[in-house]
């Protein structure tokens, strides 16, 4: 990536997912964590990514009861009879 050892913020924001996925090389991971040590805005940024993942994950809680449950259970009884 960068040709220097120091990671800037623009590079940091592009590597957040690789970091969270554990996909960075050991060298890049060290540069990434070194950046986090001194850059408060990037600490906010990675926290926002975590908040994003959490908020998207909660979409699965907005569940509709299976409308077709009874119908499917009737199909199951048919299947049982013929199986």
């Amino acid at each position: 990536m960068g040709d220097t050892d120091v990671m800037n913020c623009q590079e940091f924001v592009e590597l957040v997912t690789d970091y969270l996925e554990g996909a960075l090389s050991p060298a890049d991971q060290a540069r990434f964590e070194a950046h986090l040590d001194y850059c408060d805005p990037c600490i906010v940024y990675i926290e926002e990514m975590r908040l994003t993942i959490g908020a998207v994950g909660r979409l699965s809680e907005r569940d509709l009861a299976p409308a077709a449950r009874d119908q499917l259970l009737a199909a199951f009884r048919d299947w049982k009879r013929t199986a």
């Binding site: 913020c9 924001v13 926290e47 994003t52 993942i53 994950g57 699965s60 509709l64 299947w79």
Partner: protein
């Protein structure tokens, strides 16, 4: 959905009971997976009613295929493969399916930066690449702020606006809680491409939630 792995032995036990004709076990599998099947089906058919039908046909497919399922893959993987086949068949009939290839094909948005380059100090200047317009401090309880109906609608809209491949990845990974390897298998992606798509998708949704999690700028006159 946090833990996907611990559910596996349970699926196998339920499946065993289903094979013995246990209706309650089949009902448990429906309760566990039907909402997820419907959500995933909407990736292909984009119409809630059709997605519900495809999900129902998937369960019929499960019953029909139960004898042949040898548990070399997990139940969930098998279930998903039946779902995609049903969705494809439905799409061929109605010609309004999202082509499966669109979910693995590179799209225009894949190369977009995570953050608008204007928010960084431009090249050539001292501190180039550092924030010019940094994120503001977070509000007191950002998780709660994201639960508002307005924030939820904004998140939905941000996901819906993503290219199909990014949408498929963020929904399977972050909504359904799938492992990266399962997503790669299901969509025919390399590990690297999967991460790129996930990164673009999450970055765009992050952008959308900024106004809800960051403190407002102090109002100043000019």
């Amino acid at each position: 959905m946090t833990a996907t792995a611990p559910a596996e032995p349970n699926d196998r036990m339920l499946l065993l009971a289903v094979r013995r004709g246990d209706e309650a076990a089949f009902a448990s599998l429906i309760d566990r997976y039907h909402p997820s099947l419907v959500r995933i089906a909407t990736l292909f058919v984009r119409d809630y009613e059709t997605a519900e039908e495809v999900a129902q046909e998937t369960w019929i497919g499960v019953l029909k295929g139960l004898d042949r399922f040898e548990e070399r893959s997990s139940f969930r993987t098998w279930l998903f493969s039946i779902l995609t086949n049903q969705a494809k068949r439905r799409g061929e009939r109605e010609r309004r399916i999202v082509p499966f290839a669109a979910l693995s094909r590179p799209a225009d948005g894949d190369a977009e930066p995570a953050v608008d380059p204007d928010r960084f100090i431009p090249p050539g200047e001292e501190w180039a690449g550092y924030w010019a317009s940094p994120p503001r401090d977070l509000v007191e309880n950002p998780e709660r702020a994201l639960l508002s109906a307005e924030a939820q609608a904004v998140i939905d809209a941000a996901i819906a606006a993503l290219p199909p491949n990014q949408q498929a990845v963020i929904r399977l990974r972050d909504v359904e809680g799938w492992e990266a390897a399962d997503v790669c298998n299901a969509l025919g992606l390399t590990a690297t491409h999967q991460r790129v798509l996930l990164h673009r998708a999450r970055s765009r949704v992050r952008q959308a939630i900024e106004p809800y999690v960051e403190q407002r700028a102090v109002l100043a006159d000019g």
